[in-house]
Symmetry: C2
Subunit: 373 residues, 2 copies
């Protein structure tokens, strides 16, 4: 009777992880960098006002929406007012809200793509189709389709779409008129601090998603949707039916945090830390598993690359040995077999990164011996 | 293209309310009673641990789930383990999670019923049917149906189902086997502290919903679903696809609050306050609008009653005069006209209650004069 919904492999891994596990699996930020002292100051100020614990507006707090609009205006070069922002309970919730309101047919996703988006679309029984490039999109897109794209440091591949291709995609979309969901979860995590203009700035029928999870802290579960006012007013009732509104308290803390502190100074600390972790992990792969092919990412939280064998079995073997990473199979909408895999570098120490990669190298050796035997 | 989803009338009223408005409209708890000092203590303790800001398990924090299970065991006389609890982002989210996973056909709701449940079911395109009593249910129920019931201090009527009728309903359900969603949002708000055994304790294919919104604070958006383990594991992936998990921080604060303080001592304060507000509002109605017919509620947050005229127009007139209440029309799944209306008494002062009821009496007089003219 119940719809058969597969739990996400990643969440299952996260649940299975114990204190011994070296985990490259999740997309967990480095919790040692969370601005705890500042959040405490913000929280204590907010707790002086009992309205922080009361119900509030479905669209979200005005002050916080103003802060977010400012980021679009000043950093993304994308003119935005607070009325064009809707606060969501994590960016994840945006998929459900938008899909429920607008998508009745099919959605095109990059191959591979973010597993959380796949789950959200599949729970709603949408037809999920993959696309590799804009020509493919141009060929298959209908007006009733929707498109999901992560333009910056895509999860899982860490690839970004360059300016020229953004314009081409915007042009392809303009021709057909589908809904675009553009996910900016990692857009502010370029190692050098570069911030690209979203495709959404060139295409009106679009929803741009953002989140405080990767730039402040995921445990607050505060994200947002940026869209033109008419679209926001259409999704508002879906948001409301879902959880009335995102926690008032969490919104007020972030608002106060952004009032008092410069979040971009904090992001700089995060970027620098992630860059050094990434460089170290890349070095370890080159040293211990030279056959692993990957592009060195320019931002984001993952190294994505290709082994010489299917990674689904390898990942299972690894988790038995207390090393977790994610085989790419789960990132494909059609669950295709793959030799690729994703490694998170932000939530491990240098020592764990080296030990983990070495252990995977050993497991690969064991396979070779078995095969040779 | 977008599905036509009506925004909830109540949320629209809440959005429209300004500082001058006397609002009997929302289901807002009295924020003056929120345990701010205790929440601050809990929050400061929790903020010493940076994991409070990290991602966490989709099912929710173990400690918090244990506290909730304890409430079922000790207060509801309903044996429960922490594995039978799933934490939700407000109780509201439970409707979406359960409906999405289990309901493909129709759902029976009480007439009238909670407007948030109606919205959640309608967003998912479910066929919503009303029932007045168990005989009606017995006649029309199929195995593929679902049933939504609020057994205690139902929103909007404030009526409770007595023990005998709970058993009869359980029997009717047993015969047909549908999914039961039983909403316990107000179950702990009996003015005398009585707590009834839920129907779910007599019927296995059920989800019992609870929330901290009415007993601690709604701004944290933490609720839960209680169901047998097999059902919990089936809804887990829908929860995960929705928002990954409920904010870690908020769960840890409530867990710490429940570790350190006796929430039932706090609930006693809330109950006593609400009882005195209710008694005062009842007195005002009897004094200023003797034609308004209502049962004096034994718990909950609303007085529900009947005027001599349709209340939809009256409510509009009232909001123009800065008095907000909810006409019953919006609580009916089929939007039928009604002379009934719901008045919240928990979020107004005694002075506001008297002034508000008096003002409505004046508006009714104006109508009479108009009609006579």
């Amino acid at each position: 009777m119940a719809r058969k919904i597969q739990r996400s492999y990643i969440r299952e891994i996260l649940d299975a992880i114990n204190e011994e596990t070296i985990s490259f699996a999740g997309g967990l930020p480095n919790e040692k960098l969370f601005p705890m002292e500042q959040l405490k100051q913000a929280s204590n100020k907010v707790l002086k006002n009992s309205l922080s614990m009361q119900y509030s507006k479905s669209q979200g707090l005005d002050g916080l929406r103003e802060h977010i609009a400012k980021i679009y205006n000043e950093k993304f070069n994308f003119p935005t007012t607070k009325d064009e922002i809707l606060i969501t309970t994590g960016s994840q919730q945006a998929f459900d809200i938008i899909a429920k309101t607008f998508i009745e047919d099919e959605i095109f996703v990059q191959t591979p793509t973010y597993i959380g988006a796949l789950s959200a679309f599949k729970v709603l029984d949408l037809k999920v189709k993959g696309f590799n490039n804009h020509s493919c999109l141009n060929r298959e897109l209908k007006k009733s389709s929707a498109v999901y794209i992560m333009s910056d440091f895509q999860n899982p591949t860490s690839e970004s779409i360059d300016e020229v291709n953004r314009e081409i995609i915007a042009h392809v979309l303009e021709k057909n008129g589908p809904i675009l969901i553009e996910d900016g979860a990692y857009s502010l995590l370029d190692f050098e601090g570069e911030i690209k203009k979203p495709i959404s700035a060139m295409y009106e029928n679009s929803f741009h998603l953002g989140s405080f999870s990767k730039i402040v802290a995921p445990g607050l579960r505060v994200g947002w949707i940026r869209a033109k006012k008419e679209l926001i007013s259409q999704i508002l009732s879906s948001k409301e039916a879902l959880d009335l509104h995102t926690p008032t308290f969490n919104q007020m803390i972030l608002n106060e945090y952004l009032n008092q502190f410069n979040v971009f100074e904090h992001i700089k600390i995060v970027r620098d830390d992630y860059k050094s972790k990434m460089e170290f992990m890349a070095k370890c792969f080159n040293k211990y598993i030279p056959s692993f092919q990957f592009e060195v990412p320019k931002g984001g939280m993952f190294i994505y690359g290709k082994f010489e064998q299917d990674t689904f079995e390898l990942a299972k073997k690894a988790i038995e040995n207390n090393i977790a990473f994610v085989p790419a199979k789960v990132f494909f909408h059609d669950n295709q077999d793959s030799c690729e895999a994703r490694f998170n570098f932000t939530n491990s120490t240098f020592e764990q990164i080296e030990r983990g990669v070495k252990k995977i190298a050993e497991l690969l050796e064991e396979y070779k011996i078995k095969e040779a035997g």
